[in-house]
């Protein structure tokens, strides 16, 4: 177990090292830098800026400086938001993304698991077909279509919520609903498939034979195993949801991490681009590790191997 965790942390460090190198390399393909967006600037001021950010050094030294920033956790300043560290900017964008993503995850689980379980317990009935069709439709509805329609209905027509922006305490509802509905479709499908498969296994027959009640068979015995594929899906999905879906943040104009990343990438703000990519990678690695540990806890047949 400890060996497993250590080896995964080493793997995570390799991932983050590679992500720094790749985003650095991609960023250097454009003439970007600290003063690209300022038109009237003297040659000396430009040199002073380059000096300040270390842009006058050879690229290999610059890469070394980047790696040092992250190794010592002394994060650099953004090129675009002068005087603000990239960690400060992430700290301002992440709560927005995390609120929306976390709420979306809860909505997705609250709709998806009961829907999938309901369908799995009534195979090949009308209810099963209806919920399966609904889940398939949900998967095939892109967030960029559903989002504006939800904004139109609840924001512009019914006026229950703001159609866009991040002003009121309730502004997380519509974006979270958009993402939650779509992810609930995936979860419903996975739950249905894996619960049906599990219910056909022999340990379920054993549980029934020893007289366990139907609800304890389903909820205690079967759900424990059937939740494994769902968990497997939730790892990457949760990381994606929490860091903000680029699409819903654009649709609802939320000042989340996704918006910061897109503007950093298009503005040539290399420091912020690298920082947000590293942050994403770190979250993905942590969620994958968490999922693996949970899976081993739920299924004694899974042994964690380094």
């Amino acid at each position: 177990m400890i060996r497993f965790i250590v080896s995964r942390i080493v793997q995570g460090i390799i991932v983050i090292f590679a992500v720094i190198c790749i985003t650095f390399g991609l960023s250097k393909m454009v003439p970007g830098g600290a003063v690209r967006n300022e038109r009237f600037i003297t040659e000396e001021a430009r040199k002073a800026q380059d000096e300040y950010y270390g842009l006058n050094k050879p690229w290999i030294v610059q890469l070394g400086l980047q790696l040092k920033h992250y190794a010592t956790l002394d994060l650099p300043e953004s090129y675009h938001y002068k005087g603000r560290g990239v960690d400060e900017i992430i700290a301002s964008g992440f709560p927005v993304s995390a609120t929306v993503g976390g709420a979306a995850l809860l909505i997705a689980l609250a709709i998806g698991v009961p829907l999938g379980a309901y369908a799995a317990l009534r195979p090949n009935t009308l209810e099963d077909r209806t919920s399966t069709v609904a889940a398939t439709l949900g998967i095939c509805t892109p967030s960029m279509v559903l989002g504006p329609l939800i904004a139109l209905l609840f924001g512009l027509k019914l006026r229950w919520f703001n159609a866009s922006g991040w002003f009121d305490a309730s502004d997380w509802v519509l974006p979270a609903l958009t993402l939650g509905i779509i992810y609930s479709a995936y979860i419903a499908r996975l739950t249905r498939g894996s619960l049906r498969e599990t219910l056909a296994q022999e340990f379920i027959r054993t549980a029934r034979a020893k007289g366990a009640s139907e609800s304890s068979v389903v909820f205690l015995h079967a759900m424990k195993l059937a939740s494994l594929p769902v968990l497997n899906f939730l790892g990457p999905a949760a990381a994606g949801l929490l860091t903000g879906s680029f699409i819903v943040e654009t649709v609802f104009q939320l000042p989340g991490l996704g918006q910061f990343f897109i503007s950093a990438a298009t503005n040539g703000d290399h420091q912020l681009t690298i920082a947000i990519s590293v942050f994403y990678a770190a979250l993905i690695v942590s969620f994958n590790l968490l999922v693996d540990i949970l899976q081993a806890a739920l299924n004694p047949r899974i042994r964690l191997q380094a």
């Binding site: 793997q11 995570g12 390799i14 991932v15 590679a18 992500v19 790749i22 985003t23 991609l26 960023s27 393909m29 454009v30 398939t136 439709l137 998967i139 095939c140 509805t141 892109p142 960029m144 279509v145 989002g147 504006p148 329609l149 904004a151 139109l152 512009l156 049906r196 498969e197 056909a200 680029f246 699409i247 654009t250 649709v251 990343f261 897109i262 990438a265 298009t266 681009t273 947000i276 990519s277 994403y280 990678a281 993905i284 690695v285 994958n288």
Partner: protein, 289 residues
């Protein structure tokens, strides 16, 4: 399993019969055939050009002249949707082809090499799974301009991981089977075995997985175009049309709804067909249902 799949049927024909026995799969296939024909020929048959503006007309409801109405610049929506569909389908197929080629080459190399090399190559794939690829794609599109070929190469370059795993697993299972050993005993060369024996047997899973990749790739292209990083107006893909529709959703909701319906239905058909192919080629997964 019903009895009409007799022993005389070739595996391909049997799989085809299993595929078409599900009515939904047949519908999905017909829908896609019709869609490809429409998107291929429709823009040429239409009396309008997809970028031809009619500023007097502006946005209109569907009429006999414009079957799906026009957008705020007076462009014919049906023509734009069919043209956008052509672009989206092209990106979907080309990016999937790129992903499949990379995945097959990588997976076959790992599977054939075996041992340490295989372990190292697969460990790299494990590590790549943790990459924030969407960031790389966005960065790449933001940097190098928004060229058509770059879009599908960039998407293809990030979608090959699962394909590599599928192919490697298949090669590992195949390479010690008797017919391969027999071929080797007969003096068949390495490339002959790869080309004539391994590759044809790997193609089934590759096609199945590729058909499941296409809708994901089309979603990614639409997302990039929606963010303004993919196909650039006045050229249109479904992502571009949906973005234009989303901007005008309060005044002209149908500008979002029509391309949205086309896009969702296509994704639905592709998903149904992908699942159907998987069930048809792998009767084991069928029996579980």
């Amino acid at each position: 399993m019903s009895s009409n799949t007799g022993l005389s049927l070739s595996p391909m024909r049997a799989a085809w019969q299993r595929l078409m026995r599900q009515r939904m799969n047949a519908w999905a296939l017909w829908f896609l055939v019709v869609l490809v024909l429409l998107c291929g020929a429709g823009p040429e048959l239409s009396p309008y050009d997809q970028s031809q503006q009619d500023l007097e007309l502006k946005a209109t409801n569907p009429s006999t002249a414009h079957w799906l109405g026009t957008d705020p610049l007076g462009r014919d929506m049906l023509t734009r949707i069919l043209h956008g569909g052509r672009v989206s389908l092209e990106v979907g197929l080309l990016a999937t082809a790129v992903a499949s080629i990379i995945g097959v080459l990588y997976g076959m190399t790992a599977g054939l090499a075996g041992g340490r090399m295989d372990a190292a190559m697969m460990r790299i794939v494990d590590i790549l799974y943790a990459f924030p690829f969407i960031n790389f794609v966005i960065l790449l599109m933001a940097i190098v301009g928004r060229e058509f070929w770059l879009i599908f190469v960039a998407i293809g370059a990030v979608e090959w991981l699962t394909m590599a795993r599928v192919v490697r697993g298949q090669v590992l299972a195949l390479k010690n089977l008797e017919f391969i050993i027999a071929a080797r005993a007969c003096g068949a060369g390495f490339w002959h075995i790869v080309w004539k024996h391994l590759l044809p047997n790997v193609m089934g899973p590759v096609i199945i997985y590729a058909s499941l990749t296409v809708p994901g790739v089309m979603l990614l292209e639409a997302a990039l175009s929606f963010l303004g990083l993919g196909i650039q107006p006045p050229d249109a893909s479904w992502g571009v049309l949906i973005q234009e529709g989303a901007k005008a959703v309060e005044s002209y909701p149908w500008l979002l709804i029509y391309p949205g319906i086309f896009f969702s239905t296509t994704l639905l058909a592709l998903n149904l067909l992908g699942d159907g192919l998987r069930d048809a080629f792998d009767p084991k997964s069928m029996s579980q249902q």
